[in-house]
C-alpha cells in the first residue's frame, strides 16, 4: 500500500492516470451525475454496506460522533434519507432546486490495490425560483476497489461555508 501520513497530501509518484485512481474518478463522476439527476436509488447502490456519508459543520474534524454535523449518515440513515427524498411527502424534495455540479481537481491521497482515497473540489449550482445558489466544497471519497464492483466507504463534503448559514436544501451534495 502506498499511503501517506495525512489524507490532506497527495501520494508521491502516483499519477492520476494510475488505473486504480481512474476507477475511483469514474465512480465519483458517476455519483455526481446520479445526484444531479436525483436518482437516489441508483446512488445508494454506489455505497458499501458499511458506507458513511457526511457533511460536517466543523471542516477540520475527522471523527464525527461527538460533534454536530449537517449530515452524518450510516446506511440505515442514508436509506431513510432516500425514502424521504423520493416518497413525495417532503415539501423541500418535491420542489427541489435543479442542480448541476462539477467535480474536479482530483488528488489521490491513498492508493492501494484495495482502496483509493481521493480528494477533489466540487462546485454545485442550485437553481430554484429565479435564484442561483452556490454550494462549494472540498470532497473526500474513500473507495473500496473490488472485482465485484467499486464502492464508496466514506464520503465527506466540507463546504467552504459550513459554519456559515446556507439555505436549507432539498437535494444532496
Amino acid at each position: 500500500m502506498t499511503e501517506t501520513t495525512s489524507l490532506r497530501t497527495a501520494v508521491a509518484g502516483v499519477p492520476l492516470t494510475d488505473p486504480r485512481v481512474v476507477r475511483a474518478i469514474e465512480l465519483v463522476w458517476r455519483e455526481a451525475e446520479l445526484l444531479d439527476r436525483a436518482d437516489y436509488t441508483a446512488w445508494d447502490a454506489l455505497y458499501a454496506e458499511d458506507g458513511t456519508y457526511v457533511v460536517p459543520i466543523d471542516g477540520s474534524v475527522e471523527e464525527f460522533d461527538d460533534v454536530l454535523n449537517m449530515v452524518y449518515d450510516d446506511t440505515r440513515m442514508r436509506r431513510m434519507r432516500i425514502v424521504r427524498m423520493t416518497e413525495g411527502h417532503a415539501l423541500a424534495a418535491v420542489d427541489a432546486a435543479r442542480t448541476v455540479r462539477t467535480v474536479s481537481r482530483f488528488v489521490p491521497a491513498v492508493v492501494s490495490d484495495d482502496e483509493v482515497v481521493l480528494r477533489s473540489a466540487q462546485v454545485l449550482v442550485a437553481y430554484k425560483r429565479g435564484r442561483h445558489d452556490l454550494w462549494v466544497g472540498d470532497v473526500e471519497h474513500r473507495i473500496r476497489l473490488s472485482e465485484t464492483g467499486d464502492r464508496i466507504v466514506r464520503k465527506v463534503v466540507r463546504l467552504v461555508d459550513s459554519e456559515g448559514a446556507p439555505p436549507a436544501a432539498g437535494f444532496l451534495l
Binding site: V55, L68, Y72, A90, L91, A92, A93, P167
Partner: protein, 434 residues
C-alpha cells in the same frame, strides 16, 4: 368570533403600523413592507430584550462570542470578574469591527485598522502614536458601546434601551418554563453542543409564528414522522389530544405543550417506559456506576422537554434546542438551531450527548428531515403574501375556544394560534409606541 370571508370584511388597512394588527388577523404587509421592517428594527429590536447567549458559550473569563442584536453586530464577553457584557462590535475611532471570530478566548479586542485596543469590558486601553490626540481625546472616557445585559437561568439577554423594564419583569411567568426547560439536562447542568445555521427567504415573523404553530406539524413534517420510531411518532401525535395546550404568557411570549407529560421532566413518576431505541445507552450508563434513578432521569430527558417556549422577539426554547432568529432584511432571515445537552463527567454525558446530537441532526439543519420542509413552507408564505398587501394573514384559529387556565393564562389547543396572537399583540404595542 366568526369572521366573514369576504374581502371588504377582512382587509386590514391603516394609517399606523398598529392599525395593521387586529386581534384575529394581521395585514400581509407585515411580511413584505420594507418601511415596516425598518421600524421594527428600531422599535422592537433596539428596545426589547434580545437573547444573545447561553452562559455555557462564554464559560470563563475572556470567553466571548459574536452575534447580533437586531442588525447591530455585538460581542458577548465574560470579563475577569466573571460578569457578562454585550459590547457593540464597532471601533470608536472609524467604525471597523474589532472582532470577526464567531467565538473564542481573548484578553481584549484590538481593532485591525489602527490598533485601538479595548479591554474585555470594552474600555479603551491603548491608542498607537497617541501624540496626535493630545488635547482632543480623553482615552479614559471611551468605551465600546455597551448594551444592558441581564440573565435568567443561564439565558443571557441584552437591550439597547437603557430604560427597558428589568429582564425579570419582561420574562414574568416565562421564568417557570425556563426552569422546566433546563430539566433537559437530566439532572446535570446544560451546555451548548453545537449549532446549525441556515437562511430562508422570508420575513422573521414567519419563523416567530412557526415555533408556536402546532397545526403545521403532521403536514409539513410527515416525512420526518415517517422516519422516526413508532414511539417517537406516537409521542408527537398531539393533533386531537385535548390535554395538549398553548398558553399565552404575556409580553408576546407563549408556550406550546406538545407532550404535556414531559413538560416538567422532574415530575416523572417512573411509570412511562423508556424508549427501546435507548436500550444500549441505558446499558452503557449503568456500566458507569450510575444508579437506576440517575440513568432514568437522563434517558427520560433524551428528547428534551415536551414544549416550545416562544419568546418575543428572537428566541425559542424547544424540546432540547434553542431556535434563534436574526432578521437580515424584510424578506430574509437567518436561523440558528442550537443543540443542548448535559454537562458533566465525560463517561456519563458523552454517550448521552452523542445520541442527542444524532436526534438533533435528524430533524434540524440545512439537510435535516424537518428544517428544509419548514423553510420551503416559509418561502411559500413570503412569495404568496406579495398578493394583496392589505389582505390579512389569519391568526384566529381556536379563538372561540380560548379560555383562561387556572394560572390566568389565556389557553387554547396546541394547534391553535394563541401564541401568534400574543406575539402580534406585543408587536402592536411596541410598533404603536411612538
Amino acid at each position: 368570533m366568526t369572521i366573514e370571508l369576504t374581502p371588504d370584511a377582512l382587509d386590514v388597512h391603516g394609517e399606523t403600523p398598529a392599525d395593521l394588527v387586529l386581534p384575529d388577523r394581521v395585514a400581509g404587509r407585515l411580511y413584505t413592507d420594507p418601511d415596516l421592517f425598518e421600524l421594527e428594527m428600531t422599535r422592537i429590536f433596539e428596545r426589547s430584550w434580545v437573547w444573545v447567549a447561553h452562559e455555557s458559550e462564554v464559560p470563563k473569563p475572556g470567553s466571548f462570542k459574536t452575534t447580533h442584536v437586531g442588525r447591530q453586530p455585538v460581542i458577548v464577553a465574560r470579563n475577569r470578574k466573571g460578569e457578562i457584557n454585550t459590547l457593540l462590535n464597532r471601533c470608536r475611532h472609524r467604525g471597523a469591527s474589532v472582532c470577526e471570530q464567531p467565538s473564542g478566548q481573548a484578553n481584549g479586542f484590538t481593532c485591525p485598522y489602527h490598533a485601538w485596543s479595548y479591554s474585555l469590558d470594552g474600555q479603551l486601553r491603548g491608542i498607537p502614536y497617541p501624540e496626535g490626540y493630545e488635547g482632543v481625546l480623553a482615552k479614559g472616557d471611551i468605551t465600546l458601546g455597551k448594551l444592558r445585559t441581564e440573565s435568567y437561568g443561564a439565558m443571557v439577554f441584552a437591550t439597547a434601551d437603557p430604560d427597558a423594564e428589568p429582564l425579570t419583569d419582561f420574562l414574568g411567568d416565562v421564568k417557570l418554563w425556563i426552569d422546566r426547560f433546563f430539566g433537559l439536562g437530566g439532572g446535570y447542568p446544560v451546555k451548548v453542543l453545537g449549532r446549525h445555521r441556515f437562511r430562508f427567504r422570508g420575513n422573521w415573523k414567519i419563523q416567530l409564528e412557526n415555533t408556536t404553530d402546532g397545526y403545521h406539524f403532521p403536514i409539513v413534517h410527515r416525512s420526518w414522522m415517517a422516519s422516526v420510531d413508532a414511539e417517537t411518532a406516537e409521542m408527537m401525535s398531539f393533533m386531537t389530544d385535548p390535554t395538549c395546550t398553548t398558553h399565552d404568557l404575556g409580553h408576546g411570549h407563549s408556550v406550546m405543550q406538545m407532550v404535556p407529560t414531559h413538560s416538567d421532566l422532574s415530575a416523572d413518576d417512573g411509570t412511562e417506559p423508556l424508549q427501546a431505541r435507548f436500550d444500549d445507552l441505558v446499558a452503557e450508563l449503568k456500566g458507569t456506576g450510575l444508579d437506576d434513578a440517575a440513568v432514568r432521569k437522563l434517558v427520560h430527558a433524551m428528547h428534551g422537554t415536551g414544549f416550545n417556549l416562544n419568546l418575543f422577539p428572537n428566541v425559542s426554547m424547544s424540546a432540547a434546542f434553542l431556535r434563534v432568529l436574526r432578521p437580515i432584511s424584510v424578506d430574509e432571515t437567518e436561523i440558528e438551531h442550537i443543540a443542548l445537552g448535559p454537562d458533566g463527567p465525560p463517561e456519563v454525558v458523552d454517550p448521552v450527548n452523542r445520541a442527542k446530537l444524532r436526534i438533533h441532526e435528524h430533524f434540524q439543519g440545512p439537510f435535516g428531515f424537518g428544517t428544509p420542509d419548514d423553510a420551503e413552507g416559509w418561502d411559500r408564505v413570503q412569495r404568496g403574501a406579495q398578493a394583496a398587501p392589505t389582505m390579512p394573514i389569519l391568526v384566529n384559529r381556536g379563538l372561540a375556544r380560548e379560555t383562561p387556565s387556572p394560572e390566568g393564562w389565556p389557553t387554547s389547543h396546541v394547534t391553535d394560534e394563541t401564541g401568534m396572537r400574543t406575539a402580534y399583540a406585543q408587536w402592536k404595542a411596541m410598533m404603536g409606541d411612538d
